[in-house]
């Protein structure tokens, strides 16, 4: 057994516990250990990515219990890509959090951060449906703490809403798992795939109920319309680095949909065939439209970024709804892009808010910002990436999605929605950018005479440029990345290999 597979789960857990117990009052020590942990996590994740690139599916049996009875972690290409994306994003955003001082505005930021990473990595790696629930809870409970980090009345209130939504989601998740267990008698994902295929179609009503409930849970996590209502308040009110890390959390939902509805309730399974495709597609189209119109209608930068996150999930879920190899490749590429772009947008919005004092994120003209040119350039980059304009990877991602959906029944509708909403997003982002960055007024003309502090820390800017650099790298290296993701999608759509790897041993 390859013990490296469990490192992304165990290492953050130990680190977080040590931080809470031993260095609660030492923010400097916490920063050092948190950064070191994130660098190590990225190194391990890249190692796993290279390892999974060989095409082998590695299984880690916890406690050495063989697969259908014990809990397994499974490393395939998809898991490796998602874990590597999480680790890379977490490292850069952590740099931002440290540089901007967000982590010192309340205690236990770094411990919660590590627990959050543990939950996310665990959710991507696990091969057991109930274990997925447990890792969802781990990442959620850490996110509750992070969401209300630094306090404030509005943030607490938005936090309560967020917790209530997710507790409802967790309850639904348990109902779904209970139904599926009652029908199949197993919760191991590979075993579920075999058992679900054995159930006669005429007898499969409960299985379909379970599959549908499970879809609702993942759709809630992925902010699919009409289950997206938790997202705008949460993301707009959360501390910026936390919102940037949350960019990967919606992808956990998308990942779970992709995993469950290719492996277990795949297109070949008669009982659940075409159960969710249509709902997912039209829901995703509506999500995209609402998200992009939200960008145009937002009156504050925080909500603008939140609606951009919803819109990007719409595009991602459209691609997933195809459930073919080509569309899954496009979905994965767009998932990587939209995670980086979404995080960058939240961080740039925070750069602006920190520099505008009392004006904060309101879309009204304000004084020139400190490092005005740099922040404007970052906004420009983030806007291009978000709207999906050339030359950044959003364009390539959307092109892949358009190409993959060409043969689908509702192709004209998909193409129309994606293209029109892109235009709407460009309008919204250009409007917001020109109000904030172009229509600057002299500080003396505003009611607020406090000039923004001239000196702002440089590390947050560096972190933002690193993220932008990641997006540029994703565009330049699109060829190799897409080849890796094509192999990933091929592996995903041939679930026999996964099942054999998990159940074939021992």
């Amino acid at each position: 057994m390859n013990h490296w597979i469990i490192v992304p789960v165990v290492m953050p857990a130990i680190l977080a516990a040590v931080m809470t117990l031993a260095m609660r009052y030492h923010i400097g020590l916490q920063r050092v250990f948190s950064l070191a942990g994130s660098v190590a996590l990225l190194a391990v994740a890249l190692g796993l990515l290279a390892h999974a690139g060989s095409g082998a599916i590695e299984v880690y049996e916890l406690g050495n219990w063989p697969a259908p009875f014990g809990i397994v972690l499974v490393l395939d290409r998809l898991s490796a890509v998602m874990v590597a994306l999480t680790a890379a994003l977490a490292l850069v955003v952590l740099l931002y959090a440290i540089g901007s001082g967000w982590d010192a505005r309340g205690r236990n930021f770094h411990a919660l951060w590590q627990f959050q990473l543990m939950g996310i990595c665990g959710a991507f790696l696990t091969g057991d449906a109930f274990n997925l629930f447990v890792f969802f809870e781990v990442l959620l409970i850490a996110s509750y703490g992070l969401m209300i980090h630094a306090g404030g009345a509005r943030r607490l209130k938005a936090g309560v809403q967020y917790v209530i939504y997710n507790l409802l989601g967790s309850t639904l998740f348990l109902f779904a798992l209970g139904t599926i267990y009652a029908v199949t008698g197993t919760l191991n994902m590979a075993d579920l795939a075999l058992r679900a295929a054995e159930i006669p179609v005429g007898d499969s009503a409960l299985l379909r109920v379970g599959a549908m409930l499970l879809f609702l849970v993942f759709a809630l996590k992925a902010a699919l319309l009409p289950l997206h209502f938790w997202l705008p308040n949460t993301y707009a009110e959360a501390p910026a680095p936390v919102a940037a890390l949350f960019a990967i959390m919606t992808k956990v939902g998308a990942y779970a949909i992709l995993r469950f509805y290719t492996l277990i309730f795949g297109p070949d399974l008669d009982a659940t065939a075409a159960l969710i495709d249509t709902i997912l597609l039209y829901g995703a189209l509506a999500t995209l439209a609402v998200g992009m119109i939200g960008i145009l209608g937002a009156r504050r930068l925080g909500r603008l970024a939140a609606f951009a996150a919803i819109g990007s999930m719409g595009t991602l879920l459209i691609a997933i709804a195809g459930f073919t190899e080509g569309s899954s490749t496009a979905a994965l590429y767009y998932a990587i892009h939209s995670t980086l772009a979404g995080a960058l947008l939240f961080l740039v919005v925070d750069l602006v808010r920190e520099r505008r004092g009392a004006l904060a994120g309101a879309l009204v003209p304000g004084p020139r910002l400190a490092q005005h040119g740099m922040v404007t350039a970052l906004w420009f980059g983030a806007a291009i990436a978000t709207a999906g304009m050339p030359p950044l990877s959003g364009f390539i991602g959307k092109l892949l999605v358009l190409d993959a959906t060409r043969d689908m029944g509702a192709a004209w509708l998909i193409w129309g929605t994606i293209l029109v909403t892109s235009l709407v997003a460009i309008l919204g982002l250009a409007q917001a950018g020109s109000v904030v960055f172009w229509k600057t007024v002299a500080p003396a003309d505003t009611a607020d005479t406090d000039a923004p502090p001239a000196a702002q820390p440089a590390l947050p800017l560096v972190a933002c440029f690193v993220l932008l650099g990641g997006i540029v790298a994703l565009s330049v290296l699109a060829g190799p990345v897409v080849r890796y993701l094509e192999a990933t999608a091929a592996q995903l759509h041939a679930p026999a290999g996964y099942i054999a790897a998990v159940l074939g041993q021992g």
Partner: protein, 117 residues
């Protein structure tokens, strides 16, 4: 017993959903608690209802009751208990800082605000 179990789960779920849709956090939290009770019983019942059966096969036992749902329920109870504690604390904090118990977030006024950005 099946009827009792099913109706209990149904009534608790219905009451939970009704309470979750209230405006104030207190009934909403009670509703969430009811929903978690309902789901715990539901999980328990997914292993089929059996009376006086050992959870593992041993000598002399004809049948057994499925032990896995019991383990799942245990996990679910621990998690939902912790989550309820978290949401109670957050609701209290929210009540104390904003002086009202409403679940909804009031719309932000467009005038610039002081304090947290």
């Amino acid at each position: 017993m099946e009827l009792l179990m099913a109706s209990a789960i149904g009534v608790m779920t219905a009451a939970g959903i009704y309470l979750v849709l209230r405006m104030r956090t207190f009934p909403v939290i009670l509703g969430l608690a009811l929903l978690t009770y309902a789901v715990n019983y539901f999980l328990f019942a997914t292993g089929r209802l059996a009376v006086n059966m050992p959870p593992v096969l041993r000598k002399g036992a004809e049948t057994y009751t499925d032990p896995l749902p019991q383990a799942l329920v245990l996990t679910a109870i621990v998690i939902s208990f912790g989550m309820t504690a978290v949401v109670v604390m957050m609701a209290l904090g929210s009540y104390l800082s904003s002086r009202d118990d409403d679940v909804i977030l009031p719309p932000e006024d467009d005038s610039p605000r002081e304090g947290d950005a």
